[in-house]
Every structure is written in C-alpha cells, then in structure tokens.
C-alpha cells in the first residue's frame, strides 16, 4: 500500500467539480468575470492544486481512511472519555433542518434547534447544578478560555481585575487551564501533587490571596483519584474572593455522583464531543459546554438561548450588557449540541448514572489485569482506594529491564490492530506513563483483548526485544523519522515547503 500524496496526483485538464457558466442574460448584463475583479487583484498564476476526476478523489480519500485505525478496533484512549457515536445522530446531522441552517435566520425559523439547545441546557443544569449553560466554545479548552474571559468580565465589573491577575491550577489539571489563563493575561500558579495524589490544603492556602482571580482544576484528574477536600478548597477560594471553575474533562468518573455547583463551584465545563457522545473526528468540530451560577451568568458570551414561557417560543438574547462578548462567532457548534442532546435522551438519567458506574468498574477491572503484567505499575501505588474512570500506569520497570517503554509499546500495539492509549499530558510526573480509559462503550471482552496485547508485548519485550523496537511491522507505514519535525531546515507542513526544502528528491513517483 503506497497511497501518494494528493499533490502528486492528477493530470492537467482533469476535472473533479465543474460549475455551469453564468446564464446568458447574467453574462450579458454584467460582462466577463475578469472585468469585475479590480485589475490589481486578479489572480495571475493558477493555484497548483491537483487536477483529478471525482472518482479518483473519492478513492484517494477512502484509501486514506483505510489507513486510520482510530476507533475501528479497540482504542482505550484515555483523558477523552470516548463514547459510542450514534449513527442516527450522524444521519440527522445531514438533514437540511440541521445542516442547511444559517445562524442569522429569524429565530422564528430556528425553533427546533433552539429548543434542543435550551432543553440540553436544562439537562446540563440538572447534572451540574449550574444556572445557565452556553455552547459558544468550540472545544473543551475553549470552554476553559471562556472561564478566563468570564473571570475577567466579573472582576472588571467589580473593578478588581487589575488586582486579581492570578489563576491557581494544579499540575494535573488539563494544560488548557493554565494555557487559557495565561492567554487571557493571568499569571498562573500551579500547585503540585502531594502524597495523596492531590495538592495539599496548605499549598492552596499559600497560593490564595487578594490577587487570586480563580481556581481552575479537574477532579478527579487522570490519576483517577478524587480530592476529598475539594469542598474546602472551594470554600477557601471564595473566602479569598476568587472564583472556582471545575473542568469536567474527567466527568465520567463522577457523572451523576456529584454536582459541581453543590460543591460550591461557580462554573464548570463539559466536553460534548466526548463525554456526551459526539464524535471526536480526530479533534472536532467539538463543543465545550460552559455553565455557571446565576451570579456569573450576566457575563457569559452572547447570545444566550432563552424561552418565553408564555408563548413557548425560543429566542436569542443578544441584549446582555455585562456580557464579555464573543469567544467565537455565532452561537456554537449546534450540530454537536444536537448530538449531545440525542445522547442524553437515549441514555436518560439512569443510563447516565450507569455509564459512570460501568466506566469506573471497567477501569478497576482493567487495573487488575494490567497490574498483573510484569513491568506495569501505577501512580501512587500506596493508595488503596478504587480509582475512578482512569488510572495512570507506568512502564518504567519494563523500560529499565528491557528498554521497551511507552513509545515502543505504542508502536508495537499497532501491529495487533489496537491503538495506543493516551500517555500523559506534560510534564510526565510518572515516568513512561500511559493512561488507558475503558469507559462504558467497550465490552469486557474488548478490555481483555486489549490487556492481552499489553501482556503479550511485555512478554515480547523480554523475549524478542528487537522485534518490538522495530515495530510497527504491519501498519500502513513504518516508524517515522521524528528528527525532522522540529528542524526548520527540514520540517514541511505543506507540499510547497517540502519541494522547496527537499527539492528533486522529494518527488516520489506517484502511485
């Protein structure tokens, strides 16, 4: 299998999409197209795009799709809470009543989608205890950014923004928390984990001050350990005048078990494209649902979907004086909200609770299986508690003993037709980390198969180390050369750059 890069394909003159010429009356009325473009702005050289027929384009991209493992087999991709993506939702997403809707249509013509947004908002309010959700954020990190924007608006309104320019997070909070805080202009204070798997109250107290704008954290984080002092954390933050934001990226572990608002949090976010059954699509279109208390609601990005209870009609409320404005154009990836709503309806309250149950149960089952593999250990091994929806493991021991670490493991797993797990966000607190997540959509058999692969590779690591190191053997391609990727003289994010930097040798024969 050797699918060429599309830029090498095609034949001059071949056509994929064609368009009619303008109607005779149209052309007669306005003249040649070129006469309508200011001379300075006419395109002179054609773009060097491939010239291909429609069947050839289709086949090329179908071939590329065949070279993706993804969730086609077993992929216990941690930190993402991958779920079954209902094909019904995909079908419906292509209906004109979803796909061919314009955000600036009169709201009277948007009643169906606004109803879904509103009803889903109500569902999330139930699950979190918050008072209002918006869906403008196009991803989980973007929802964290929304939090930082709302934080700015809230303190700006109080006149405290210049003073409160610090945001506190933890080293195991998702990197988007410190990153968006910094992008929003805040100074970031990061608390380190202590022996129990979470930072101490003392560290928090030391960090809090009248300069603190907000606390942003996950609980549990990827270690699967729930911080039992979290209520106290929130109390202390609020006492210091700061806001508290709960990043629910790891929601599966506590879904239906706790509610962010009940714990005192001012705001939280959910990833609809993961936790709520939207497809990941390799990374979006996604939606970060951002919810907050009534106190923060006036600062939310606008518009907000509102329902007139008298008429039953839905509308878009743009008239929000305190709003921080926009974090992205329009109202959000409503086609993802639709899918999340469909997921929540298909599951219902009991199904959602059961998903959490199964997810935690399966994770503990997987832990049992993985720790039975010689060479695999877990973070904070001294803690006896059952972990929640995921656990961080380490191959440190195997690496020391055989030279096979997580990179080699990942590459070799591909040969078994199963995909590598997420390793860990940086910094790697645990050496040679990996963080599989079973979730509720993989069967026990799937988990067993996956663990069998790990066990098999660990065995191979001792018996046939070189074979593992040379992996993958049965993938679309062999191990890539990573050295070029950060070298300005060699990296190439486009074919143009590739030709420029690598010259004639870059031109492989097509096919």
């Amino acid at each position: 299998w050797n699918e060429p890069v599309v830029m090498e394909m095609g034949v001059p003159g071949r056509r994929g999409a064609v368009f009619p010429a303008a109607e005779a009356e149209v052309a007669a009325a306005v003249g040649e197209a070129s006469s309508l473009v200011p001379a300075a702005m006419r395109r002179r050289a054609k773009p060097a795009l491939p010239e291909m027929s429609e069947p050839d384009v289709l086949r090329h991209y179908l071939h590329l799709s065949q070279e993706v493992l993804g969730m086609m087999n077993i992929s216990l991709f941690g930190t993402c809470t991958m779920k079954y993506n209902s094909r019904l939702s995909e079908q419906i997403s292509l209906r004109p009543q979803m796909a061919d809707m314009h955000p600036y249509q009169d709201p009277r013509t948007l009643q169906g989608i606004l109803e879904i947004v509103h009803e889903f908002d109500l569902i999330l309010r139930q699950l979190s205890g918050m008072d209002q959700f918006v869906f403008q954020a196009a991803g989980g990190a973007h929802a964290a950014y929304t939090q930082t924007a709302v934080t700015r608006g809230y303190f700006a309104a109080k006149g405290e923004l210049e003073q409160r320019n610090q945001i506190i997070t933890t080293i195991q909070a998702h990197p988007c928390n410190p990153a968006t805080a910094a992008t929003s202009g805040f100074e970031v204070i990061t608390l380190m984990l202590e022996e129990n798997g979470y930072p101490s109250i003392e560290a928090l107290k030391a960090a809090l001050s009248n300069r603190t704008a907000a606390l942003m954290l996950n609980n549990p984080d990827d270690m699967g350990i729930y911080n039992p002092q979290i209520k106290e954390w929130v109390r202390l933050a609020k006492e210091a005048g700061a806001l508290a934001f709960y990043d629910h990226a790891n929601f599966n572990g506590v879904m239906s078990k706790i509610r962010a608002r009940d714990l005192g949090f001012d705001a939280c976010m959910f990833m609809l494209h993961k936790t709520f059954g939207g497809p990941k699509g390799g990374g979006g279109p996604a939606t970060g649902a951002y919810g907050c208390s009534a106190e923060l609601a006036p600062f939310l990005p606008k518009p907000v979907v509102v329902k007139d209870e008298a008429s039953g009609l839905y509308d878009l409320d743009y008239d929000r004086e305190m709003s921080v404005g926009k974090v992205r154009e329009f109202f959000g990836n409503l086609h993802i909200v639709m899918r999340a709503y469909a997921w929540a309806r298909a599951m219902g309250a009991e199904g959602i609770a059961e998903a959490s149950d199964i997810s935690v149960l399966a994770n503990n089952y997987m832990e049992k299986r993985l720790l039975a593999v010689d060479g695999v250990t877990k973070s904070h091994p001294h803690l006896d508690e059952y972990r929640l929806e995921m656990t961080r493991y380490s191959l440190e021991k195997l690496k020391e003993e055989t030279g096979i670490g997580v990179a080699e493991l990942s590459a070799r797993m591909v040969d078994f037709g199963v995909d590598a797990p997420w390793l860990a966000h940086e910094p790697w607190l645990v050496p040679e980390p990996f963080t599989p997540e079973a979730g509720e959509m993989w069967s026990k058999e799937d988990i067993d198969t996956w663990c069998d692969v790990i066990a098999q590779i660990a065995k191979e690591a001792r018996e046939n180390t070189d074979h593992v190191k040379a992996a993958p053997h049965n993938a679309a391609i062999h191990a890539i050369d990573g050295s070029a990727l950060d070298d300005p003289a060699r990296w190439a994010t486009t074919w143009r750059a590739y030709l420029k930097k690598h010259g004639a040798q870059a031109r492989r024969a097509a096919g």
Binding site: R15, A17, V18, A29, P38, A40, M41, R42, P47, P50, M52, V57, Y61, V68, G70, M71, S75, M98, A99, Y104, D106, Q111, Q126, L127, A141, A156, P175, C176, A179, G185, H273, G282, G325, K326, R328, E329, F330, F331, H335, A342, G348, A349, I358, L361, A362, Y365, Y386, D419, E426, E440, S443, A476, I477, H478, D481, G482, W491, T494, W495, R496
Partner: protein, 469 residues
C-alpha cells in the same frame, strides 16, 4: 408493562449483569457503590435528576429528533441570501462521504503509524490551502476566522513585541468582538489595543489616509480583509502591506478562500500572515457550527515558532522512500509547555480540515476559477437587478465578490419590514446590518453563491418589488 429495569442499554455492552458481576468479582468488590467510596458522602448528590424520559429505542429517538428539528425552516426549503460569515455553498456529496467515514469520524489519536491516513489528509489540507493562499507554512485549523485573526494578532504582537493592532472599521462586528477578546481587555498587562481604521464610504475600501495617521512604529500588525465584510475586494492590498512593512508591522490578511480562484493570493500583495474561513470549503452551515479558521504564513522560523496550532509535517520513515507524517513544533503548544505555550491548543475542527482537503482536491485550479467567475457574475447581476427595485440602492455597486450592501432608505421601509415580507414568501433576506453600521442607513448584506441561479435571483427581485411597495 414490561419491566425494563434490567434491560441492557444498546450502547453499553457491559450493562449486562453478568459482565458487571464478573468484573466486580475480579476486583474483589461487592458492589459498584463501593468503588465510589473515596467521594465523601457529603459531596454526593443523592437526589433525583429531573431529566426528560430516556429514549433508548432508536425508533422513538429518531421520531423525537425529527419532530423537533422539523420546527426549523431550512435554507434548502427556503431561498436564503444570508451570508455575513457563514455561507450556503454547495457541499459536494463525496465531501460528506469522506468526512462521515467511521475511520475519520470517530478517530482519536494513536501513533503516526496508526493515524497515517488521517495525518496525510491533514497534510493535504495544509498543502492545498497553502497553494490557494500562496503560503508555505499552514497550521491545522482553529475554531473560526475570528479566532484565527485573534491568534494572528497575538502572533504579531509576540513577533514584534508591540501591542497595537489596526483593523478596518468595516470589519464584521462579530469577528471583531472575537479579536478583541483575544487581545484582552485594557486591564490586563498584556492587552493589545485594537484600533479601527476608517473605510471610504463610497468604495468600502480602507481609508489609506486614516491608516497612515494611525500607523506608527508601535503597531504590531495591520489586519485587513478581502473580500471584506461588506463584500468589497480590497484593491490596494499591496499599498497597505507596504505601509505596514515600512513601520515594521506584520501584515495580516483575512480571506475567504473560495474567492482565490480569481482573486490574487495574499502572498502576491505582501501578506505576512493569512487567515480566513474554511467553512466555504466543504462545511455545512450547521447554524453557525460550520465555522472554522486557518492560519498560514511564509515558512520562516520566526513565524513558525509562534503558531498556536497543531502542525503536521511530512517526514521519512525507517524505510527509504516511504513518507509519514508527524506533529511538528509540538512542544511550543500548550500541550508541551502549559502556560508557557503559544496561546492554547485543543480540539478544534480537524474533521473539517479533512472535508476541506477533499473539497480542494475536487475543485482543482479550474473548479476554483469557475466557481469564482460564476459567483462574481451572478452577484453583480443580483446587485444590478436589486438596484432596479424602486427606492432600493446598492451601496458599493462594484468591486465586490459575493456579498453586497443593499440600502432600503429610499423605500421608506426598514430592513426588518422588508425581511418580514420576504420571509412570508419563503425567502430569507440579507442580514440586517443597520444597527452595526448606522452610517449605511437601513442596510442589509446580501450574499450570492453558486447555488443562486438567475431564476432564484429574479425571484428575489420580484419579491423585493412587492415587499417595498
């Protein structure tokens, strides 16, 4: 009534009691509840969720969803002239087919070897977009055009160490609001001041005198668009870029790439960074959910090292002659450096990148030329015909691409009144911009794409004639 209590859920293979029991036995737990012991009781929610009833049966769920969405009135059944940042272009069927392939749709992240096909598709997205805009370095897409512009402004600020950004006063208020968000409020120490440059009320083009007045050696970047929000093609891009360059500012150009089969690529007139939408390249409108943005530049290290995007580079493999793809400059992202990273990176609209790759491959140079020619001719035809309606005026009557501003002051009707009359005829009139641009009067922004044939345009004109009566 059947007892459904113990019925397994179709989406949860392990909701079978036997599977749960086997796993509980394996871990030595007596109950699932036990697994949550580490959550203090006073944290636990013990109430009942007031959620609508579950619909685990697909036949029921489908019925419900179709009934609800059936309350929408779509741009397929109706005739829409709305644009203003989200456009009703034709989405070729194979674009949906490829983007809907389970392999792409559900793909998470594996290794460069197991993700090979997707990484290649991403690289092909960047490569083809690079050809359209004339740039060598292209990142994977960000959330939207506005977000791309915001990121580009911050890149310019980091590159120049300056904190002023000039943007056209004719800019989309929605997009401008996003840029302002990214540039931080004035209270923040790292605030970037966003200042608007006036536009010529006769042409819609940037007022070069005002630009000259505001340009100075503390300006990080000059941002302009072509076609601009009001539809006009900025014909003096080279002069603007030259002026920016003279002051050491970065020139950032925003484009709708579907125009680039007939419009010059921004590299031709001096752009340093190009941003724009990818929604027009094969994404459905999705009520605004089709948005997606891109960032491109020359492949210079100073620029490359400021990208907040995921970047995919072609590279070799352990087998000579074989190519693969990997993330490049990954460490500078927030995944690599947390708060020290370039802005932040996360899930974005990467599946749309694949859709756009397919779209561009299908179009090729001639497809882009044809669609550009068709649109610009029909748009001008529409403007000409609309201007024949008594009392109706087209504000910038030439030099536009697919959108144009229609002023209704002469009819004595407001845009809202006109649109109400049109809607009764199944027509969604242009976006009302009279509140955002009061100087333009009762003005609406009309958009014409390849889906609007002469028949549809003539239908609009007839309806307008009645509406303004």
């Amino acid at each position: 009534m059947r007892q459904d209590q113990t019925r397994a859920h179709p989406w949860m293979p392990n909701s079978v009691p036997a599977a749960k029991d086997a796993m509980l036995a394996a871990i030595g737990a007596n109950s699932i509840e036990q697994l949550f012991a580490q959550i203090p009781e006073d944290h636990r929610f013990r109430g009942t969720f007031d959620l609508p009833p579950a619909l685990p049966s697909e036949v029921e769920l489908k019925k419900h969803l179709l009934k609800t969405l059936g309350k929408n009135r779509s741009c397929e059944e109706n005739l829409s002239f709305l644009g203003a940042g989200i456009y009703q272009h034709h989405v070729p069927a194979i674009v949906d087919e490829v983007a809907g392939r389970s392999e792409f749709l559900t793909s998470v992240w594996g290794t460069p070897m197991s993700d090979h096909g997707r990484n290649q598709a991403w690289f092909e997205f960047c490569s083809q977009l690079g050809e359209l805009v004339g740039m060598e370095f292209v990142g994977l897409p960000v959330y939207s055009w506005g977000c791309a512009a915001g990121n580009a402004a911050r890149m310019a600020a980091r590159i120049t160490g300056r904190r002023r950004l000039l943007v056209p006063a004719s800019m989309d208020p929605e997009r401008l609001a996003v840029v302002r968000q990214y540039c931080e409020p004035v209270q923040m120490a790292s605030h970037i001041a966003v200042e608007t440059v006036a536009f010529d009320p006769r042409t819609g083009l940037l007022d070069l005198d005002d630009l000259a007045a505001k340009l100075a050696d503390d300006v990080a970047g000059v941002y302009f668009e072509t076609p601009g929000f009001l539809g006009t093609i900025e014909s003096r891009g080279a002069e603007i870029a030259a002026a920016a360059k003279r002051h050491g500012a970065v020139t950032i150009v925003g484009v709708d790439p579907i125009s680039l089969g007939i419009l010059a690529p921004p590299s031709d007139y001096g752009a340093d960074i190009v941003v724009g939408t990818i929604q027009t390249l094969g994404a459905h409108m999705n009520c605004g959910g089709g948005a997606g943005g891109f960032i491109a530049s020359r492949d210079e290290e100073a620029y490359a090292r400021e990208y907040p995007t995921l970047n995919v580079s072609i590279t070799g493999t352990s087998v000579p002659g074989e190519v693969g793809f990997g993330l490049c400059l990954a460490h500078q992202s927030s995944y690599g450096m947390r708060e020290e990273g370039k802005d932040w990176t996360g899930n974005s609209v990467y599946l749309t990148a694949i859709a756009s790759a397919v779209y561009m491959s299908l179009m090729g140079p001639e497809g882009f030329r044809e669609i550009g020619e068709l649109i610009i001719q029909r748009a001008h035809y529409a403007a000409k015909r609309v201007a024949e309606v008594p009392g109706v005026e087209v504000v910038f009557s030439n030099g536009f691409f697919k959108e144009f501003v229609v002023r209704f002051d002469g009819t004595g009707k407001s845009v809202a009144q006109v649109n109400e009359a049109l809607m009764a005829k199944g027509i969604f009139g242009g976006k009302d911009i009279s509140a955002d641009f009061p100087a333009l009067g009762q003005a609406a922004l009309y958009c014409i794409t390849e889906i609007h044939g002469q028949a549809e345009i003539d239908r609009l004109v007839d309806a307008l004639k009645e509406a303004v009566r």
